[in-house]
């Protein structure tokens, strides 16, 4: 032991070398640990991204797979004779006569003629259930728009009732007990016969894109809700963009930095965190009850959503204004530009891409918002396509909510289809935001 101690006595030079070697060893040992930590962290990251992607894939594939059937619709081709004595027995061609004529009888008789063996009242009713109530409406439209057709026999493609459409798509099938389904064995047999005769075919569901809501799934469409969304968004944009940008410019460029502006700033951030349903209640209490604006109208919906979008736009605009380098402001001020000129000629144009990006993201948020609109009556069942901002309307997400709530099975596919349309708009808007950001990236 003593020998060992003796040999441990080192010259300063050796000691220095020793210390360096020890440090180098320590570094080498710790390296392994550090690389392991790095690899672990990277694995977590990849795992997180993978999980997120998987969720998106699952979400999209379920929505698309359950929504796609809604884009086709079964139709039956019938040779309908537009009998003069049923439509207009007196031959007056009077408008109200034409509108109120019994077109149901016309189309039902045509269908019944396909099965002469069906005689009983009950059987006849069961057979005519194959036709959608929209079939008679379609003939009515045709005749009222062109009365000269009366007396002719036309080959018409008429919509099939939703239950039979589902049977045609295989959603309703014989696997379920007859008492548990809405299509009886007899009806299935008739439908199969019609199919064998080649007069049932599946076509693109144009009704879905041209109609508003309906109690009959085969007649329900998305256009009413889409127009409602459009009008609502127009009101929101027209209100929140100018107000938001003006507020941001004032707070960022002109307002003195004191306690009051600090309180305002904090409260704008608070406003962004207020639950949207609260804005809905506010809209109900103030806009509808106090100011007496129309219920269920895009005008009020847009105003409520504008309140909700304002903080987003103000915060994004202020960030964009702040990102404009002070040297640009100094350059303009140094030339003798007034503060207003500095803002309108230089700062605002440079901040505009950022402001627009924030606005689009705020609008996308508003487009998907449901809760506040429920409070102001935009959840109503509305069959007419709105023609302006004061007409009763509903919006896309509320339409999704309404259809998801409907008992008819055929609305399942339509709910998913409506979600697809809503998501398409949202993705388009976000893509536009990204594009803007890319195109106008900092140029100084």
């Amino acid at each position: 032991m003593t020998d060992a101690v003796m040999t441990d006595v080192q010259t300063p030079d050796q000691m220095r070398r020793d210390r360096a070697a020890r440090a180098s060893n320590a570094v080498r040992r710790s390296l392994k640990k550090r690389y392991a930590a790095e690899a672990r962290f990277r694995a977590y990251g990849i795992g997180a991204v993978g999980l997120a992607l998987a969720c998106i894939v699952v979400l999209f594939s379920t929505i698309i797979s359950s929504g796609l059937p809604a884009f086709t619709q079964s139709a039956i081709t019938l040779n309908v004779e537009l009998k003069q004595d049923v439509i207009d027995p007196e031959g007056t061609r009077d408008k109200s006569t034409l509108i109120n004529a019994n077109y149901r009888k016309l189309v039902f008789d045509t269908l019944l003629a396909e099965f002469p063996e069906v005689t009983g009242r009950r059987d006849k009713r069961a057979l005519t259930a194959i036709l959608s109530s929209g079939a008679a409406f379609q003939v009515q439209q045709l005749v009222t728009s062109d009365p000269s057709l009366i007396g002719q026999t036309l080959e018409l493609s008429l919509p099939v009732a939703a239950d039979f459409d589902l049977y045609n798509k295989g959603v309703i099938n014989k696997g379920t007990a007859e008492s548990d389904r809405r299509v009886s064995d007899q009806q299935m047999a008739w439908f199969d016969t019609l199919k064998e005769r080649g007069i049932i075919e599946s076509e693109l569901n144009t009704t879905f894109f041209t109609n508003a809501d309906s109690r009959e799934p085969e007649l329900a469409g998305i256009l009413g809700a889409a127009m409602g969304s459009l009008f609502t968004m127009l009101v929101t944009l027209a209100l929140s963009f100018p107000i938001g940008v003006c507020a941001a410019v004032y707070l960022e460029e002109f307002a003195p930095k004191n306690r009051l502006t600090q309180i305002i700033e904090v409260n704008i951030n608070n406003l962004a965190a207020v639950p949207s349903i609260v804005f809905g209640l506010l809209g109900l209490a103030v806009f509808i009850n106090f100011f007496g604006l129309p219920r269920s109208a895009p005008l009020v919906g847009g105003m409520v959503l504008a309140l909700m979008t304002l903080p987003t736009i103000i915060i994004a605009s202020r960030a964009a204004l702040k990102a404009v380098p002070p040297s640009i402001r100094e350059a303009a001020l140094g030339l003798g530009a007034s503060r207003m000129q500095v803002v309108t000629h230089h700062v605002l144009p440079l901040a505009m891409p950022g402001i627009l990006t924030g606005t689009i993201i705020g609008m996308a948020q508003a487009l998907g918002e449901t809760a506040p609109l429920l409070m102001i009556g935009m959840v109503a069942f509305i069959v007419d396509i709105p023609g302006g901002i004061t007409d009763p309307a509903t919006v896309l997400p509320v339409q999704v909510y309404l259809w998801a709530d409907s008992p008819e099975r055929a609305f399942v596919a339509r709910t998913s289809a409506a979600i697809m349309i809503l998501l398409t708009f949202l993705i388009l808007m976000n893509a536009l935001a990204v594009l803007l950001r890319k195109k106008f990236e900092r140029r100084w």
């Binding site: 930095k257 350059a331 303009a332 001020l333 140094g334 030339l335 530009a337």
Partner: protein, 274 residues
């Protein structure tokens, strides 16, 4: 600039100022004090700036020379916590009084900044902007003429005349700074303030700017803040030395660099501090 030995007095090459009798006072400042919040940045500065002459403000970092410069065209107004006291007169009118509008003041007293800061617009628009907002020129021909004149005076015309539509930010650093000078003179100011205009430039670009400053002296009064004593010696006729918020010494550039009166000036120009 390495050719100058810091331990010796700097060689003076700039021409001496014209005779005292001919000089007109442009800026007359007495007892200028500037506060940033509670902190005082300038203490009772008395300084006169003469017409058609280059006045250099030198001193170590944080000595208040830029602060003083920015009181002359009230650029300090943009800083909320900044307060200015004292008398600052341009041609006998107090610039902080109601008689002078700050926009008009800045049109008369132009400024060139430390970092070249052209607008992210075309070269042409950079120059045309000032005359346009002040209504100095209307009509395309007038503005075309001002653009050409200003760029020529800033000795940039030959380099950019074929690409006036290209963005000003695409030029090299030295060209950008000359563009900023051209932009300043396009407004036809009486005074041009320059805040370390060459600190972001290489020696060749610096030399060109210095030549330019010397040429501009015939038409404009120039006040330049610089960190480089060689530059002060080369371009200025009068030099003011600032230290810790005080104006220590002011005089003919030649005298300041050869026979400084104050010990602190002596120490600074011989490189003992700063």
């Amino acid at each position: 600039m390495g050719e100058v030995d810091m331990s010796n007095a700097v060689e003076v090459t700039a021409p001496m100022a014209s005779s005292d009798a001919a000089r007109e006072t442009k800026f007359h400042t007495r007892g200028v004090q500037v506060f940033y919040g509670e902190k005082q940045a300038l203490f009772d500065v008395d300084l006169d700036i003469y017409e058609n002459e280059v006045t250099a403000l030198i001193g170590p970092s944080g000595c208040g020379k830029s602060t003083y410069l920015r009181t002359l065209n009230r650029m300090n107004d943009t800083i909320d916590i900044c307060r200015v006291k004292g008398k600052i007169e341009l041609d006998g009118t107090d610039v902080y009084s109601d008689k002078i509008d700050v926009v008009h003041l800045r049109a008369r007293v132009g400024m060139v900044f430390q970092k070249p800061n052209p607008f992210p617009k075309s070269i042409y628009e950079n120059i045309a902007y000032g005359p346009r907002i002040h209504g100095i020129a209307t009509g395309k021909e007038d503005i075309d003429q001002i653009v050409e004149e200003s760029l020529t005076k800033a000795s940039l015309w030959n380099e950019v005349k074929d690409r006036l539509d290209e963005p000003g930010t695409g030029l090299s650093g030295g060209q950008q700074q000359r563009l900023c000078i051209a932009r300043a003179i396009a407004v036809q100011p009486e005074v041009i303030l320059m805040d370390e205009p060459c600190s972001a430039l290489d020696p060749i670009a610096t030399a060109r700017i210095e030549e330019l400053i010397d040429e501009l002296r015939d038409n404009f009064t120039i006040v330049i803040v610089t960190h480089s004593m060689q530059q002060a010696a080369r371009v200025s006729q009068r030099t003011a030395f600032f230290h810790l918020g005080d104006l220590v010494e002011v005089g003919e550039t030649g005298k300041i660099f050869t026979t400084p009166q104050d010990q602190r000036t002596q120490d600074y120009i011989t490189g003992r501090f700063g």
